[in-house]
């Protein structure tokens, strides 16, 4: 019959890097082919065919995150035009739940990666800082559905949040000091002690069946 679609060695390498099992990878590969309509790469337009995603207020940012080169573990910056299956898996792996057998260092790295993903979602101009304007953008996107909520209210929520962030990161500021933006270190500080793992994971089922029934 035909040759295997992915060579086992490549599959193992993918599995090691992303943490998915080989059966999960096969399943996600089928999903990838469905989204890409049997092409080798996915473009932004391919995400238009997912009805569930249309419901999401930050849909634009999520799709953007898939093409963000910073998330694809490449040293370069900017947006990719299309992503292949490996990149697709890489982004999905950010949402994996933590595993029982992880040690302290792995846990810490894992958490940092998730927070970095979130940071990139806020930092839309790729300058390494979440400015007040970027924060306002996110809040406005989330709250844009409410016709009664004016832009001013969304703005004041964002402003309040930035002030809070500034006080955590920089402490008391003088009247003429300007807070430029939340850097990634400040972002980490904000999340210290708060459990994000349960909020930001998707339960990928283990596809290996061990059920016996008679």
């Amino acid at each position: 019959m035909g040759s295997a679609h992915s060579v086992p060695a490549e599959m193992r390498e993918l599995a090691d890097r992303t943490g998915f099992t080989s059966e999960q990878i096969e399943h996600l590969h089928r999903r990838f082919k469905q989204l890409s309509q049997d092409q080798l790469t996915i473009r932004k337009e391919n995400f238009d065919s997912i009805p569930d995603l249309e419901f999401n207020p930050i849909r634009g940012k999520i799709v953007h995150a898939f093409f963000d080169k910073r998330n694809l573990r490449q040293e370069s910056d900017g947006l990719a035009d299309e992503i292949n299956f490996e990149d697709f898996l890489t982004i999905m792996s950010y949402f994996r739940p933590i595993e029982m057998n992880m040690d302290e260092e792995q846990l810490d790295r894992f958490r940092k990666e998730k927070l970095k993903f979130l940071f990139h979602m806020y930092d839309s101009d790729h300058d390494g800082k979440i400015t007040l304007q970027e924060y306002r953008n996110v809040v406005e996107e989330l709250l844009s559905g409410n016709p009664h909520l004016e832009k001013e209210s969304a703005r004041s929520i964002a402003d309040g949040a930035m002030m809070e962030a500034a006080s955590i990161c920089v402490g008391q500021m003088g009247p003429d000091q300007v807070y430029e933006g939340i850097t990634f270190e400040d972002f980490l500080k904000m999340w210290q002690g708060i459990d994000i793992e349960t909020k930001m994971h998707v339960r990928f089922l283990n596809m290996e069946t061990i059920a016996h029934c008679y």
Binding site: M1, S3, A4, H5, Q24, R30, R31, K33, Q34, L35, S49, I50, P51, D52, L53, E54, F55, N56, P57, I58, R59, I62, M92, F95, P97, E99, M100, L118, V139, L142, L143, S144, G145, N146, H148, L149, S153, S156, A161, E164, A165, I168, I194, D195, I196, T198, K199, M200, V202, R203, F204, L205, N206, M207, E208, T209, I210, A211, C213, Y214
Partner: protein, 416 residues
Amino acid sequence: MRCNFRDMEHECVVILPAQHYCEKGCVRREGSEKKYQRKMFEDSFPPAGIVQREEASMEEAIAGHCQGCFNLADVMYFSKKGCEAVAEDEVTQRFSSEELVSWNLLSRTNADLHHVSWQLTIVWVVGILIRYCLLVPFRVYITLFCEQLHRNENVCMSISYRIKCWLSNQVQMICATLGVRCVGGLVHFHNRENKPRGGGICVANHTSPLDVLILASDGCYSLVGQAHGGLLGLIQKSCMQTSQHVLFERSEMKDRHLVRKKIREHIADKAKLPILIFPEGTCINNTSVMMFKKGSFEVGGTIHPVAIKYDPRFADAFWNSTKYSMMTYAFNVMTSWAIVCNVWYLPPMIKEEEEDAVHFANRVKAVIAARGGMSVLPWDGGLKRKKVKESFKEEQQKKYCQIVTENGSVGNRNVC
């Protein structure tokens, strides 16, 4: 950003069986040889997906910590939902062929061909020889014969009208039966006492144009459907010469009103043939029943639901019109093992007085899905071709706003 989160769930990887099996006779062992039996498809549950979604609603997930307050972490909830949607969604999988638990020796249903064992390869090659060298020529011969018969149907103009009608109906049914044999069809009809009669509307779930052929082999109907081009268009044209069918263009609004009017007129006359309508509006892959369009349920009249379920082990009957043309589909069907299906005629249903058309449509849909062993989805089959309406997205955003802003106003403690 100081806030107390409530722990939502345990942080453990849950190992669950990825598929539920029926009670008797399903054994699946790990290893290089996976052999198992499956009971009749009616008792099997659809395979679970790769993502386990939380039962909690948006309110519970977000507002767990404090009501009326915006939190940076709310973005996490939406990004998680986004990732889940990308990994898997209920709707788009219905527009492609069903994934099979066990391979049915048709290479088209095995997406990732890989070598399992040389014995299986031999069996597969023998299967190819049987299908392409034995079954196909036989089926092509019957198709040609059937087409000849159909063309000569309008002969004998001198017989009286009533006899001519009866004769025409009989010949149509014979042609349809032959047509079913052309594609290697083996159909089991159940509850024939509920067969639709004149003046009624027959509704069924839609998987492919074969549905029409199968139903036509057991009774005569007036069809309502989308006008096609190509091979299917030719078949439709030839059918139009012998009976009254209503063909329309899906995208034409004017056409829809006209169709409704014609249906009303048709069912008012009890002597006319029952109308056959597929309310889903498009082909779905036979694992679920999608939204029934309310048009046919508004005109009044008796609804005769019919459930059609194909056995996926012998062939993939689903016509993916975005991927395959009619010719390719016909070739695929002819080179499969067989088209085995069950057709259940369900008791007639009438719209109650206080009931609205949408509710009635859902009621009929539930009955059909239950009988056929398919799941029910509220989504519109039209999503195959169109995008989701903006209004749905806005609903979700409104919901989130309500959680965050507490009765529409921005309070002092809006950030936590």
